[in-house]
Amino acid sequence: MAVEPGWYLLLSAAVFCIGLFGVLVRRNALVFLMSIELMINAANINLVAFALVYGNITGQTFVLFLIALAAAEVAVGIGIILALNRNFESIDVTDAVTMRW
């Protein structure tokens, strides 16, 4: 009994929007990263679901790559957040405003 693909679209859209909300509202850099993860995983949901619909495996392969890439991104990101913490004594992204206008 297959779930209709439309629901998957809705789910992934919802997850994407939640992630987007997190990016816009939260000031903690780590939470920002988490929200990005949510957004990428929303894409993953879509890909997997429609890989099934179309019957080819391209979507699932891409999902594997995306997962790995997201992890790499987080790794780099945490490194930068560490440097941020060392220089600005906080991980609030709104604290680093020496360059403006």
């Binding site: 987007l20 990016v23 816009l24 992204v93 709104t94 680093a96 403006r100 206008w101």
Partner: protein
């Protein structure tokens, strides 16, 4: 291809170039100009010698040209240099070229002769008096000769304009020769500016000609010139072939031709010192007298008249333009003569006399007398130059005193000067058989005849003014002669005048002889009693000596007459008041003679005694007005200061305020916008994210709607 007489080739003079090389008349003085400018200090007589050689050679070449044309050599029309080559069918072609026909050959000779004599005279006037800066003087004289010759040789209106302006520049340089004094400097500026004002209209006229006809050529003999603008205009009115010309402002062909004629007239009015642009000529007397003789009597002021004569086929198409010219001329003749009556300085009388006589020439042109105008131009050049040179001799003799009331009794000490001056005066006054009599009568005759023939009433008015001016001319001329030369000497200098050199006497004698005999050229008064070919000038201007092609072309006096008298042209007809042509001419001559002799006698009575009184003082208020030149000078200064200057200030404010303001404003607005945009970059990362998402959402919204995703 040119209409050459079969004997033409045998007439050309082997050593001196003639019609084929007439441009050397202009080029010789140009070379001397450069030479004197570079080496003037080292040359003999500080540059007079090269000047004399150049003008002498130029005069000989001009004479050779005249001889060749008399022998039948055809008109020469050649394009010497193309400035701007128009693409075929589109755009005009601008060229420099030469047009040598009887009219220009005659003018070349006049300019050459007068220029040569003035150069000679200057040896005595300037060099012998120990003047400084003489290389500048002779250089300017050479430049002037070059410009004037080139002007006469011009084959198209644009080239005429260029040299018209150049001549004006030389006038400025020469009037202001003694620039260290305030008077000459100011007079030079005034001369330049007043003539420039007229030249502005001339320039618009040139552009109008180019725009209307696509060509500014006076004639069409040269290969590559399809038609002159005169011919196109004539075709349009005569045959109704209006395809070739474009009119503007919604005017018809004749009206537009009139408009162009009036525009070009602006330049002529300025250059020939007609009312209202006459105010510069009396002030120009601040320059050295030989300059006055050359430029302000015989040649430069003749340029305006020559220009109209050159284009006469065009003017003959428009009765309105002709009427305006006649009225301006007649009025100026009278108006200037009134002012000459009361002047006390010798050169001032002559200056106003020049203005008045050029009024006669304009009157002739407007009245339909092309030959008369050219004739008067020729004779006037001779006798006015003579009078000015004579005045120069007197001034030198009187140690630069110019007021006639300080002179007197010079006829005994300065016999040559006196006799030649008298000859010139008799010619000016129009006494038989001196040259002026014949030419002035021709002018009046032609005007009267065309007025009687049912022409515009304006011609009657103009004729009347011309006739009145005869009376005044005779009076002031004899007053001048009597005050200067007769009676007892009124000052010590007059008793013992400085002697003048031979170099000054020779030109006076030459011109004196000419002013006696020059009338022979066209003894129109006797035309009822002379054989057909005796009117030499008329035949000359008809191209009677030249080939058929010229005779049937549009540059002859006969063609002008044809255009003038037909309806497609000015529609003049001739009326003789029932007397017949010959008789009317004779009667007119007698009337004019009487009108000249009577005031001469009156002048003799008033000023002929040993100690004449200043009778002009009796005129009281009238005299004051005349002495102040009807306040024309003040009026023109007011026009400049009270009228033009405020407008200029307004324009300047507009330029600085609005135009500069716009430019500065756009800079200010940009910087302001930049400042505002800058504030978008707040520095907070989440703001960036928010703005990014906002942008994306807007794009989605826009394209969802337009792309039909909803």
């Amino acid at each position: 291809m040119l209409g050459t007489h079969p004997l033409a080739s045998s007439i050309s003079i082997p050593i001196v170039p003639g019609i084929g090389g007439a441009e050397v008349t202009a080029l010789f003085p140009l070379v001397t100009f450069v030479l004197i400018l570079a080496f003037g200090r080292y040359l003999p007589f500080k540059g007079a010698f090269p000047g004399i050689v150049a003008t002498g050679l130029g005069f000989l070449v001009a004479l050779a040209t005249v001889v060749e044309i008399a022998g039948g050599a055809g008109p020469r029309h050649e394009t010497l240099h193309t400035l701007v080559a128009g693409v075929s069918g589109e755009g005009v072609t601008l060229t420099f070229g030469v047009l040598i026909d009887p009219l220009s050959a005659l003018m070349l000779t006049i300019v050459g002769l007068i220029s040569l004599l003035v150069h000679l005279f200057s040896l005595g006037y300037m060099n012998a008096e120990g003047e400084i800066d003489l290389p500048r003087y002779y250089a300017a004289l050479s430049l002037f000769t070059f410009s004037m010759m080139a002007f006469v040789l011009s084959d198209n209106l644009l080239m005429s304009f260029v040299f018209f302006e150049l001549v004006g520049l030389c006038s400025y340089l020469l009037i202001g020769f003694w620039y260290r004094e305030p008077g000459p400097a100011s007079a030079a500026k005034k001369a330049f500016l007043v003539t420039r004002f007229g030249d502005y209209f001339f320039l618009i006229g040139v552009v109008a000609v180019l725009g209307t006809f696509g060509t500014a050529q006076f004639a069409s003999y040269a290969p590559g010139v399809e038609a002159s603008f005169v011919e196109i205009a004539t075709d349009a009115l005569e045959h109704g072939e209006t395809g070739e010309m474009r009119t503007f402002l919604g005017l018809g062909e004749r009206a537009w031709i009139t408009a162009i004629g009036l525009l070009v007239l602006g330049g002529a009015v300025g250059k020939s010192a007609q009312f209202p642009l006459h105010t510069w000529l009396p002030d120009a007397m601040e320059g050295p007298t030989p300059v006055s003789a050359l430029i302000h009597a015989a040649t430069m002021v003749a340029a305006g008249v020559f220009l109209i004569a050159r284009m006469y086929g065009f003017y003959a198409l428009s009765p309105t333009a002709l009427a305006v010219i006649a009225l301006v001329g007649g009025f100026t003749a009278f108006f200037a003569a009134t002012m000459a009556l009361v002047k006390q300085e010798l050169k001032q009388v002559l200056a106003y006399s020049t203005i008045s006589q050029y009024g006669y020439m304009m009157l002739a042109l407007g009245g339909g007398g092309y030959v008369a105008a050219v004739f008067h131009l020729t004779t006037h050049a001779i006798f006015k130059a003579l009078l000015f040179l004579g005045a120069g001799a007197v001034i030198i003799a009187m140690h630069h005193e110019e007021n006639m009331w300080e002179m007197g009794g010079l006829k005994d000490e300065m016999r040559t000067t006196y006799l030649t001056f008298l000859a010139g005066s008799l010619a000016l006054a129009g006494i038989f058989p001196f040259a002026g009599f014949w030419s002035k009568d021709e002018v009046l005759f032609e005007t009267l005849v065309h007025a009687l023939g049912g022409g515009a009433p304006v011609l009657f008015v103009a004729y009347a003014l011309g006739l009145l001016a005869v009376i005044l001319t005779a009076f002031y001329t004899f007053r001048m002669v009597l005050l200067t030369f007769h009676g007892d000497p009124r000052t010590d200098t007059a008793e013992d005048p400085h002697s003048i050199t031979l170099s000054m006497k020779v030109p006076l004698v030459v011109l004196g002889v000419l002013s006696v005999v020059a009338g022979v050229l066209n003894m129109g008064v006797f035309k009822g009693f002379l054989p057909e070919n005796a009117l030499f000038l008329e035949r000359w201007l008809d191209g009677a000596t030249m080939g058929e092609q010229f005779r049937e072309s549009s540059l002859t006096a006969e063609h002008y007459h044809h255009v003038l008298t037909h309806d497609f042209g000015a529609g003049y007809s001739s009326g003789y008041a029932g007397l017949g042509e010959g008789n009317l001419a004779l009667v007119g001559g007698v009337v004019a003679l009487v009108l000249a002799l009577i005031p001469a006698a009156v002048a003799w009575r008033l000023y002929g005694g040993a100690e004449p009184d200043p009778h002009m003082m009796n005129l009281g208020r009238i005299r004051t007005v005349l002495m102040n030149n009807y306040y024309q000078d003040e009026y023109q200064v007011w026009l400049a200061r009270g009228f033009t200057l405020p407008i200029a200030t307004l324009a300047n404010k507009f330029d600085q305020g609005i135009i500069d303001g716009l430019v500065d404003g756009s800079g200010g607005v940009s910087l302001f916008a930049g400042g505002r945009f800058r504030q978008i970059q707040t520095g907070v990362a989440t703001t960036y994210a928010a703005l990014l998402v906002l942008g994306l959402l807007i794009l989605i919204a826009v394209f969802a709607v337009t792309g039909g995703w909803i």
